[in-house]
């Protein structure tokens, strides 16, 4: 580890997920092993082979005033809600706007807006469209709105790397602080893609679970009976801060955001490299970047989406990069897969696991797949050891993007 490098810490957390409208309710549901997956009630459900999803536990319309909500795509609504929570959680820090950045992305962007605006345009013509249609559909809209809300002028960025988006955003935020561009960065991911077209498209890729008779049991990472991922929605956003800035204002510090590793598979546009080389190397790079050893890592929040191929390959990559000692969880078993939001909420879960010293158990893991040589947390949540320990959040995305973020206790 370079000793003179700026250290980055996490001082605020915000989320809205299928398990709860904030971080506390989501975390508590995770520890209780609850499922956020439920039947879809929209009309289009009859047109697709998947009849369930992880719909946000608290609809944004219950939180945002109507005049504000109508100018935001649902993904932006989630992002703004999570960002406000994170900012308040961090104590609404006093910071020069020129030293405050935002990195919030989405895997798909305002797909709900695109589809409904297209219908409106076809039925009623161009001049019936909201003048906010463009900022609602653009994937950088969330970052823009959050920067306006907080007066963040050091740069507002959006990474787009499918299901690795949230983690990549946090990595980019860490880099913004390390490189001296900002003292505080609000970073994470958001997604609102529960729509017939998206479900149909993922189903066309044969990627989704069709366990329609048991929605709550459908997301089962590492289980022999898994048959695909379960679509979820929501956002997870953290406040990253230079340690110096956080200490100077006496902020509560959840964890150090110690390092990040990125690789790309360069193998297949949707399929994972069968040897898991990309994921393994991302974890090794994160260890190196954080200046920690594999033995320091006591916990991994796996990407583990419950697809037949991916989970076992990731388990091997974890075994190779970290070893068999770390407590591995797969929280998508309860939240479903939040796509661009996943890396945000799962980084938050990783941070809380370190901070609270407890790892949520993997739900629906009745019969672990053969040949898995990592320590899967089953049944009850697992307590973590005291002392200085580290944890890694893995997020991988279509396109072959692999991101591993390493957090350590402080």
């Amino acid at each position: 580890m370079s000793t003179n490098r700026v250290r980055v810490v996490v001082t605020g957390l915000g989320a809205t997920t299928p398990l709860g409208g904030d971080v506390a309710s989501t975390w508590s549901a995770l520890l209780d092993g609850k499922s956020g997956i439920r039947p879809i009630t929209e009309d289009w459900v009859d047109t697709v082979p998947v009849k369930f999803a992880g719909v946000a536990a608290v609809d944004p319309s219950e939180v945002l005033p109507r005049p504000e909500a109508r100018r935001l795509d649902r993904a932006e609504q989630f992002a703004l809600i999570a960002a406000r929570q994170a900012w308040q959680d961090a104590g609404a820090p006093e910071v020069d706007g020129e030293r405050l950045g935002v990195v919030v992305g989405s895997g798909i962007g305002g797909i709900g807006t695109i589809l409904s605006a297209y219908d409106l345009y076809r039925e009623k013509g161009w001049n019936r469209l909201s003048p906010f249609t463009v900022p609602m559909l653009m994937p950088n809209g969330s970052a823009g709105w959050i920067s306006i809300e907080l007066g963040a002028k050091a740069g507002a960025h959006s990474t787009v790397s499918a299901c690795a988006t949230g983690a990549e955003s946090i990595g980019y935020g860490i880099d913004m602080i390390r490189s001296g561009r900002a003292d505080i960065v609000v970073a994470g991911g958001t997604e609102a893609a529960i729509h017939g077209l998206n479900v149909a498209s993922f189903a066309a890729a044969r990627a989704m679970s069709t366990r329609n008779d048991e929605p709550e049991r459908a997301s089962r990472p590492f289980d022999k009976g898994r048959d695909g991922f379960v679509l979820g929605e929501g956002a997870g956003i953290v406040v990253l801060e230079s340690e110096e800035h956080a200490r100077a204002r006496g902020a509560r510090i959840y964890a150090e955001a110690a390092g990040v590793g990125y690789t790309s598979d360069a193998y297949h546009i949707t399929g994972i490299d069968p040897e898991g080389k990309g994921g393994r190397q991302a974890m090794l790079s994160a260890l190196k970047d954080a200046g920690i050893a594999a033995s320091d890592v006591h916990h991994v929040n796996a990407h583990a989406t419950s697809t037949p191929l991916g989970d076992e390959i990731e388990a091997r990559a974890i075994k190779d990069a970290i070893g068999g000692h770390a407590a591995v969880t797969a929280t998508k078993s309860m939240t479903g897969h939040l796509l661009g939001g996943a890396g945000g909420v799962e980084s938050i879960f990783t941070i809380l696991a370190l901070h609270e010293r407890i790892v949520p158990a993997i739900a629906n893991l009745d019969n672990p797949a053969d040949g898995i040589e990592v320590d899967l947390v089953r049944g009850e949540p697992r307590k973590l050891d005291g002392g200085q320990i580290a944890a890694i959040n893995n997020s991988f995305g279509f396109g072959g993007h692999n991101v591993a973020v390493a957090f350590t206790t402080v």
Partner: protein
Amino acid sequence: MAVTEQEILAGLGKIVNEITGIPATEVTPEKSFVDDLDIDSLSMVEIAVAAQDEFGVEIPDDQLKHLKTVKDVINFIQA
């Protein structure tokens, strides 16, 4: 049958409230959208779009810029 001024005012109040959050009771004929109600140009476009749907009249962009007050909009719709 022509809509009355009262009906249009009530409809506009609802639209303005929906779009901006300003209480419908503040939307009175003499108010200027920009100076009194603090409504920006994009919000005016939203209001015009909603008013077109509500009252079934077209408000072209070159007309919209002349509609400064609530009364102007009422007159335009009644004309």
